[in-house]
Amino acid sequence: MMINNKKNQRFFNPSIFPKSRKGQIAEGLTWVIATIAIIIILLISISLTTFYTKDREIKKDFFTDSANQKSVLSYLLTKEPSGEIVYSDIKKEGNLKGASGDIALKVFNGLYKDNYQEIWIGVSNIGEGAISTSLNGIKNEFFGTKNPLSDPSSLSVGYTGAYSSIIPLGDNKFFQAIFVRKP
């Protein structure tokens, strides 16, 4: 009879516990706290869902600037007054100098200055960064010093909201164009 009784009892049936007055209070309190906990968890989940799904516009970060690559290629293929193309000049000089810098200012500042917060065009060396190898920008007289925090190609920096175009020049040097978006 005893065995049958136990078998038929439900898991949450309070009669399976011996009840003193203190026990009843403790048990009642557990129920109240459990209910509050469930409601709090649900409210947090609902507010998180509402927050993350509020703006249903997909950001266009990955597509926006890829057309800039075309300008970069055309810039590097442009003939300077000396008859040499910009790419060869930069490769030879190891940096933007003279006509290559003037053309870069005209092309990139002329076309993109209003659309971007920061534009840096120049030559970078491969070097040791804080965590891994990174491209260390060489200062030039046209675009100044590269801000290492705006370089999306640096693994140690991570996502920066910027677009970078990199063209190898040889001898561990790279031509680099960085376009930092406005916030």
Binding site: R10, F12, N13, P14, S15, W31, T35, I38, I39, L42, S45, I46, T49, T50, Y52, T53, R56, E57, I58, K60, F63, T64, S66, A67, N68, K70, S71, L73, S74, Y75, L76, L77, T78, K79, V107, L111, Y112, N115
Partner: protein
Amino acid sequence: MKNKIIFDKEGSETTITIYWFAILIIVAVAIVYMISSAYGKPYDVRGIEADILANNIADCISEGGYLREGTLTDSSFKANFLKQCKLNFKVEESFAKGNGEYYVEVIAYDFDTNKRTNSDISYGNPALRQYCELKGKTLPACTQKNIYLLDSQQNKYGVTIVAVVNKADKNV
């Protein structure tokens, strides 16, 4: 006395059953609300669509840093623009409205003198162009890209590509 105990037992069981049903219903309603708020409305992808459209046109008119031959400087390119650039402006019938849901404009100018060449191209619904200056969730998405290009004779061009996508019914 015995009857009272049985009555109390049954009462507490009923209370707990009702409580669990109430909790179950609250949790179910919350889950349904969260799912419907996450998936109930469409994502607005018009901005990306306009960007992809402009990028495709940029790919169509340039190749390896040079202006592709037979494009902006060729009069037959303008007539067959959609076919040449492999673009399709058709939309599902249920979303098709008026004169079309897309508009593209390609303006080329001499980069040194800023003088426009006679190779401007516009296609689609021109009424959408006016919304590029305005901002609003239900207004068409507009994107503008500027690129610098050379032709094989080292002539320098600035090209402005404007792409507008309406499709508000489908995305908003």
